[in-house]
Assembly symmetry: C2
Homo-oligomer: 648 residues x 2
């Protein structure tokens, strides 16, 4: 059963009445508007190819931007809560304000090489160009030319002279099969394909974010920027090591095993390509550019580059430069000379995926200092502004994924995802089923609420003294195991999906503390390096899958995140995938990544003498939830987060 979600459309003109509409969860805001009789113009037919349907989110959580939002509206508008109604899926009740129609010039369909709008600044120029030309086969025996020269003549100044062997091999037949009508495809001016007849309308690309856990991909029309299909699944390498380091350990000094992992990923990507093409009804031979992002390990494995030394100090990559490789060298099943582009790597554990996040969030052009945090088994933090950017990796380990937790599980049906304590414990379980276990977001919520309720000390220890001050149902939940250890019962066996209670052990809490301190200390360390207090940190952007699920208040409470007002903490979605899409649609963005990689300073946490102390302090659950208007720590006499941690 799909839930109905309510949308209030505020009138942009003062004094006019609001409209209320509703639609199924997952429908677009545009659907809700049209269903409720609210007129919002969708010039491009709701394909994300113009900006006529833009709205401002007034209340309710602001969904992460899609690449169409980013492309059509620009980063500033996106950050200010503007979205395309056709691209924004309904998640919860919200209030939005449609924008008044603009001059028609602003609504033009996205075309190659033109700036989308005056203010977005994004120019669609993927580097791939298809042009149908009229060529003739050589006719003179005297002044002999060649098929190759005739194509160049017809193509004019579009293409450089060089033509790859694959293309030469089919040229004779192509030139003669459609009366000389030939479509020439170039990438940055170099010919990468020729086809008989006019196929210039079919120009596609794909972007992939290859994570340790999951792979997501997107098929885009390179002439319009439109997303034609989105695909994704778990990374099939997972059976060979759940996290990065065990994946590296599997393939270390063993080329056969490296190839095993490579083939797994390649097959998955080739399956995605086929699936996306089927769903969009396009030919895989019309995919000419692919942008791949991923952490250094995934990047190297997919390219067949030895990862042995990425797993050993100083964890250096084999190559950091952005690469461009023909598809047949991987091989990926697209046009043989399609260009596979990877984004650059900053350091062994600050990979191409982080670069993509930097691109997507445009932190590099921010006047204010912002932070970008990807919480995962290997978290990454980037901090800075247009003046300076620093980055570090924070090895959180797998606790956030429910691993090494007694009743831990991934965020699937049956997992506790929220914990409420008000005299007694009440758990929210994914899918409204009896609880099978607890996932990462449930774990951190549980700890936050237990500290709040006084069942747990800020040090992370279960309360042992003055238990009579607690409500009796809570005391009852602190049970002794046969071994004499204490556990906290979240769900009693009767309500659980399996035999026995779903509990939290003291060991589970320690695992969470190690994980959350890694992230917290990483952020604190970059604040220390930048000499930036919480009050100077304008925004903390959470990205990646996990960031979507955590309760921000709880995350601040247990000091996974620094003590910022919650409205300064935003979820920006799968920024890595978005960045890959931007680099796919724009060579300027792709080149920018290389410039940025050179600029970003890498901070190696473990190599810093002060880190140990910060990390140990970061283990504690403490602090308070800051609210808008609260003074930041600096204003309350704490010059920066390090001092805050040290002075607790």
């Amino acid at each position: 059963m799909t839930q109905a979600v309510k949308v209030i459309f505020k009138s942009p003109e003062a004094g006019c009445p609001d409209h209320i509409a509703s639609a199924a969860r997952g429908a677009s805001i545009l659907d809700a508007a049209h269903g409720g009789g609210v007129e919002i113009i969708a010039t491009c037919g709701a394909r994300g190819r113009c900006r006529s349907c833009r709205i401002k989110m007034v209340r309710g959580s602001i969904p992460p931007p899609t690449v169409q939002d980013a492309v059509q509206l620009g980063s500033e508008a996106v950050r200010d809560g503007f979205r395309l109604a056709c691209q924004t899926k309904l998640v919860e009740d919200c209030v939005v304000m449609p924008m008044p129609p603009r001059a028609e010039a602003g609504h033009q369909i996205l075309g190659s090489g033109r700036s989308v709008t005056e203010d977005s600044g994004f120019v669609l120029e993927s580097g791939v160009e298809k042009r149908c030309v009229k060529a003739k086969a050589p006719v003179s025996e005297h002044h002999q030319t060649s098929d190759h020269e005739e194509i160049l003549l017809a193509a004019g100044s579009v293409a450089t002279r060089e033509m790859p062997l694959d293309v030469l091999r089919k040229l004779a037949a192509v030139l003669r099969s459609e009366a000389g009508e030939v479509t020439v495809t170039t990438f940055n001016g170099r010919i990468i394909d020729v086809e008989a007849g006019d196929t210039s309308q079919h120009c596609y690309g794909m972007s992939f974010d290859i994570g340790t856990t999951s792979i997501v991909g997107s098929l885009l029309d390179l002439s319009t920027g439109e997303e034609l299909a989105a695909v994704g699944s778990m990374n099939p390498q997972a059976p060979f090591g759940g996290d990065l380091m065990s994946r590296i350990a599997f393939a270390q000094f063993d080329d056969k095993k490296l190839q095993t992992l490579r083939v797994k990923a390649l097959n998955a990507i080739n399956d995605f390509i086929r699936e996306a093409c089927e769903r969009a009804g396009v030919s895989h031979e019309h995919i000419y550019k692919i942008v791949l992002v991923g952490n250094t390990c995934m990047h190297h494995i997919l390219l067949g580059i030895d990862v042995s030394y990425v797993g050993l100090a100083p964890y250096a990559p084999v190559v950091r430069d952005a690469l461009v490789v023909p598809a047949k060298d991987l091989p990926l099943k697209v046009a043989p000379r399609a260009q596979i582009c990877t984004l650059p790597i900053v350091a062994g554990f600050v990979g191409a995926d982080t670069m993509a996040c930097v691109l997507a969030t445009r932190i590099y052009e921010s006047k204010e200092i912002r932070a970008l945090v990807d919480i995962g088994t290997n978290g990454e933090v980037v901090m800075g502004s247009r003046d300076r950017l620093v980055a570090c990796s924070a090895p959180a380990g797998p606790a956030f994924e429910g691993a090494q937790i007694r009743h831990g599980m991934r965020g699937a049906v049956g997992a506790i995802e929220r914990v409420h304590i008000d005299g007694d414990v009440r758990c929210t379980v994914i899918g409204d089923q009896p609880a099978s276990g607890i996932c990462g977001s449930g774990l951190l919520d549980a700890c936050a609420k237990m500290v709040d309720a006084g069942v747990m000390e800020p040090s992370g220890l279960f309360r042992r003294k003055k238990l009579d001050e607690l409500p009796a149902p809570l005391v009852k939940r602190l049970v002794k195991t046969p071994e004499g250890a204490v556990e906290f019962v979240l769900v009693w066996a009767e309500q659980a999906a399996k035999a026995g209670n779903v509990t939290l052990t003291q060991g589970d809490v320690r695992q969470l503390q190690l994980a959350k301190s890694a992230i917290y200390s990483g952020i604190a360390m970059l604040q220390h390096v930048m000499q930036v207090g919480n009050d100077q940190l304008d925004e903390l952007m959470l990205c990646g899958g996990f960031g979507n699920y955590i309760d921000v208040e709880s995350a601040v409470k247990i000091r996974l995140l620094p003590e910022l007002p919650v409205d300064r903490i935003t979820y920006v979605g799968n920024a890595a995938a978005l960045g890959a899409q931007l680099a796919l649609l724009s060579e300027t963005e792709r080149r920018r990544a290389t410039e940025l990689a050179d600029r970003i300073e890498h901070v190696a946490l473990a190599a810093r003498p002060e880190f140990q102390e910060i990390f140990i302090e970061g283990m504690r659950f403490a602090g308070r939830v800051a609210r808008p208007g609260d003074p930041g720590p600096a204003a309350s006499g704490q010059p920066d987060a390090v001092a805050a941690a040290a002075g607790e």
Copy 2:
């Protein structure tokens, strides 16, 4: 049994006595000198790497130059009869003059990037450079670099930044296996390989001339220019069509058959690579550059390019440009990123092999007008000087290879190769065996001598009238077949290797006439286009295998070649193979080929209205053998060869 050959060493100083030495046929002149106590200095150890042993051929046929002759002595000296004694094999008795020793500076070992001698003008610069550098693996976790950047740092300005994926894949292990000692190989500044340890001494290349009939190859040391091995055999594609057009017909519009031919040639070349490496004791992985030449058909087939339209008017190639392709794309079993370089093509039937001949003979820098003639089933003629170059192809057909001739055979043991008529017929048979048949050179010699003896009319018809004026043994040889046709018996059945007489039929003579007229008319047509009479044609250079076997006097007599004094007709050896070697050793030469291909004007014989008449006239056997000092046709009132042919 090897024959002993006599060499007279003339003293360069007047009045000094000559020395006489002898050595086995096939030995070098240097061997003969040293065996006979004649002191000739061989600074480089007889490896063709210096010019200290140079001699001038004074009498006896001048052997075709080797690449060492060309490289060490320069084209002018080579044309003047200078050779390296260490490279010149004894074929027949000869008189040579050793050159006085020069200043030691002139004798230096060939080094990369230096001009060999002041006057040869040849600079050894293959484009391939190997440099052993001392690199270190990345050490800092803070200021992270990558293996790639450490290699670049160590290599300094030698290499550009880009590194191919194949090289990146092995980089991590290479960097760490010999304490950071890494040999970096570049081609024109781009990294194509890295190896652990110092392998900088091992830098090789191969050149191949892929003919319709045979394939020859050469393994050269790119640092010294030395030839380490020569390989060759029949083209294994031959069973799929003996000549060019039947080879094309086989693969036309049938990709599978094209692949069959391609694989045959690829396998042969890969076998040659293995064989050459074994013989020279070098690793195929140290071969970094390969230059391939061949006619358009062989060129396209080897690269897997469709030849369908090369066989149809206007016989246009798919591509004429010089190509550079990584070895793994063919694939050839050498270093994976070795550069396979093809020379450019002028026209469908004036291919990369002709370009190689142009390079080798340096006809493009000649002050005088010269002609270059490759006699084969598809002959090519290039004519001109530094001011203008024209070229045509002359489709001679397979008669010169003994095909479509009743008793025709290739030039193998048992083939009649020379015919002498002096009252009766005496034949020289290859290998001094009873005759099995007649090869191309025997065929044209037979016709020349038969015209001379009056057994055949200049029109090519066997004599029918006034037979009583001929010696009786000759008349006896004009026999009637049961069908009533006349044949000329070259060898009576008793002396033949097979049952029955070895004869020449009227049809055989017609085949030869068609073949020889194609070449003769091709030359005449270019003379017409250039407006050049025989007296202005300074040299006619014969190249290719067949040119070596024909009797030049007979060739002029039957008008296969124009009526030039025989000392203006020289045999320049396998110029295509030599040109490929030059392009292998010098990027300047390779680039020059592209410039030249643009300059050469293609003359399509069949498309010229005047050709028909020239060709029919060229069918006749006529003319006289010109001798040194004879006035050329122009001097005798014939303005050019066309007029000569028309006015006969």
